[in-house]
């Protein structure tokens, strides 16, 4: 084994020497097919991801409605106003509160479902259940939001009717109109809607765990619970880091659901960051006085984006960590 590794290292070093002796153009030409296949994704990313990001940085330095050619450079004034706006920080805190409540519940439930569906005994029924849990994920969030306003309605809504029929409540509950309940109701719907996504991630992770480990444990007399505690969960940790971070970032992006279910109300009770940005950028079409403020909204978006970027950096660190553990697992498997 040591001989094979040494040979591989020698070959890799030789390749590096050879490639470094070529010019950049020669190396690109040699890999031209790779670049060609990357091109469409690169163009689309440049147009719809990188360009808008850069432009939002640029616009955040201007007082601009977004409609006219008349832009006034105001430096960092928008940022100063953003960080001194109580409603910005309320929305900021609400977004992270939303994420901190939704994510653990969603991940735990998704993991439990994934473990059950991954069980050999569920092999036949697993695809049907998997589809059932994944269907809300592929359904448009705005449609789910609108449907849920009917489902949760205190007037003839099926949830209230059921609870009242069962005698669990004496009068209907205004899930979305009660400021104390509205945010948590949206969190509940969000968990249901996106539960299937981490479930698929967990399933993928579970399927990476070598079956031989379970077989060996069975031979040693370990029951299902001990296998879960001593094999499944420890080996899922590196994947968990990535899944947690992906889910955290996606839970911060709940605009269509909140906008369709509550519009950020009542009286800002469900205004998360994206709704705040939308309100400041385009909010005057809902009857308020005042011009749209795309520059200001861009500044709010940049501040929020930086905080999400911090999470993404954590994610990158997690991915690297996971790769190390995975390669160690593969090495030990060999």
């Amino acid at each position: 084994m040591a001989v094979r590794q040494a040979t591989e290292l020698q070959n890799a070093a030789a390749e590096r020497r050879l490639s470094s002796s070529k010019s950049l153009w020669q190396r690109m030409w040699a890999a031209r097919w790779c670049y060609l296949f990357m091109l469409p994704a690169l163009i689309l990313s440049a147009l719809f991801t990188f360009y808008p990001i850069v432009m939002s940085w640029y616009y955040s330095l201007f007082q601009w409605s977004g409609f006219t050619a008349d832009k006034t450079f105001i430096g960092l004034s928008n940022y100063l106003e953003v960080i001194s706006d109580k409603y910005f920080w309320d929305a900021f805190v609400r977004s992270f509160l939303f994420m901190l409540v939704s994510m653990p519940i969603k991940l735990t439930l998704a993991l439990l479902i994934a473990i059950v569906l991954n069980d050999q005994a569920m092999r036949v029924m697993s695809p049907a259940f998997r589809t059932m849990f994944f269907l809300p994920v592929v359904t448009t969030a705005a449609i789910i939001g609108i449907m849920m306003t009917f489902v949760l309605s205190p007037f003839n809504g099926p949830i209230n009717k059921t609870l009242m029929t069962l005698g669990m409540i004496s009068g209907p509950i205004d899930f979305l109109g009660n400021p104390r309940l509205a945010l948590w109701t949206v969190v509940g719907v969000e968990i249901w809607k996106w539960l299937g996504q981490p479930m698929i991630y967990w399933l993928a992770a579970l399927q990476v765990i070598p079956q031989s480990l379970y077989e060996a444990a069975k031979v040693d007399g370990a029951n299902w619970w001990r296998q879960l505690l001593h094999i499944t969960l420890p080996l899922l940790i590196p994947f968990a880091i990535v899944i947690v971070l992906i889910t955290a970032v996606s839970t911060l992006r709940v605009f269509p659901l909140v906008q369709t279910m509550t519009g950020g109300g009542p009286f800002f009770a469900t205004e998360v960051m994206e709704v705040y940005i939308y309100r400041t950028a385009f909010g005057s079409d809902m009857g308020g006085i005042g011009v749209p403020r795309l520059g200001y909204a861009s500044a709010a978006g940049v501040v929020f984006g930086v905080s999400i970027m911090a999470l993404a950096l954590l994610q990158a660190w997690g991915v690297r960590n996971m790769r190390d553990v995975r390669s160690a697992m593969e090495t030990s498997g060999e």
């Binding site: 409609f67 006219t68 706006d85 306003t149 949760l152 205004d174 009286f267 385009f282 909010g283 011009v291």
Partner: protein
Amino acid sequence: MSSNNGISRREFLRTASMIAAGGVLMACAPATVAPAAGPTATPAPYVKGDIRIVPSGVQLPTEKVTFRWLDSGDTKAVFWKQFFAKYQEAYPNITVQYDGLPWNEIGKIVPLGIQNGNLHDVFSIPQGITNAQAYTEGWLMPYDDLLPDLAEIKAKYPPGSFVEGINVFDGKTYCLPHATSKRTSTMLLYNQDYLQEAGYDPSANVMTWDDYRAAAKKVTENGKGQYYGVIIGGNQLNRWGAVVRDLATFAGVPTVGSTLDDMNLLTGEYNFTTPEYIAAMELLLAMRDDGSFFPGYLSINAPQARAQIAQGGAGMILQGLWCLPQWKAENPEFNWNTAHTPLADPANVMPLHVSVAVGTEMWIYAKSELAAIAADIMHYWTSLEGQLAWNKVAGVSDPGYMVEAMETASDDPRELKALETQNGMYRVGPSPLIRNLDVAMVNQELRAVTPNFNEVIQGLMAGQIEGVQQQFQDLQDRANAELDRAIKAAQDKGANVSRDDYVFSNWDPKNDYTEADYAAA
């Protein structure tokens, strides 16, 4: 409201419109049926309200062209799809691309089209942009060189329709409005069965605020949990402002729509702390405490509220006449009626106000090479025949500007009466922007205060904030501070403007504010 002596207003309107329409159509008929150089389609017998392609005399292109039209859709889409089908049939070389899009899409497409120089030939100005801004930015083309009979066309409009700074700039006419601005969103629409059962007939006797509250309570009691007194789309913020504002305006504090909402232009002060605004808010809170509101009113929007009332969920809603066609189509069994908005004191009623008598929506793009087609279409649309055709499609939702053309808006006497009531609610009020174009620079600086009027009302109704007087005073202070800041910012940019521009001391709110009044002011 209506007199029992002699001819009623509705009968008079109907008779006058029939005479006027008949006269105009007779005068037009020979020239419009089979034009020599115009459409080639065989003329069919004309029935009032039919869409018919009538040449305007404008020289149209003869080569193959694609004419593009962008507006906010809805009723317009229904009309234009029918009209453009006939227009393309009459002029086979003209292909029309009609884009009826939501306002937020228009807000994206128009700036892009302007930047790229390829905006639609006819377009709507996005919300948040004033007409004056669009003119200053060079987006618009005037009609003066396109329509030789422009003066005759303008003469048919009611007073206060063409105003410098709104649709006329530097003496040139940039917009031919098609529909009346006098449309309220707070007419009392109700379930006739529920109100009769409760002992009320709002269409015969205008409701006072006390009647309104008592009726809502009684309907709720009668409903026993199956239906409620009133409903509102409380998740849609602008509904709150509209209801409180109109209740308070009718009670005595004037405000002019499309200028600076909630400002009394007699004094130049915001109305939030007036006894009328506070009383209107307290009326809603009292009705909430009575339990008269439909459960979940804070989490439904206006269309959902509209649907619920037609399905028997509530007895009354303060909404616009655009609800009626939908109810007739989707809930034909629903026994509805309409009445004047409830009044604090029926003996002393302040009218609602608009700054311009007719809505200004469609504009010709300054760089359009097919402006002749736009002018030809506008010539038809704003004629009596075009207005009859428009009203036949738009109905009571978005009636045209010509009173003579109302007869095709509906064959339902309840709707015709509602249109008459609505028209009678309004007067033309003054506009700071019309008197001083520099006010547009203040509008460009003015930022929304948070929470705004709509949000404060929603917060009070939801119980998240308390104390009407205290909250409205806070709002008044913030609104004043923001207006002062915006005026200062505009002044710094060279605008000649001050708080005095928001005071019209010669305004009599019970009468139309005319050009003579502007001159005198």
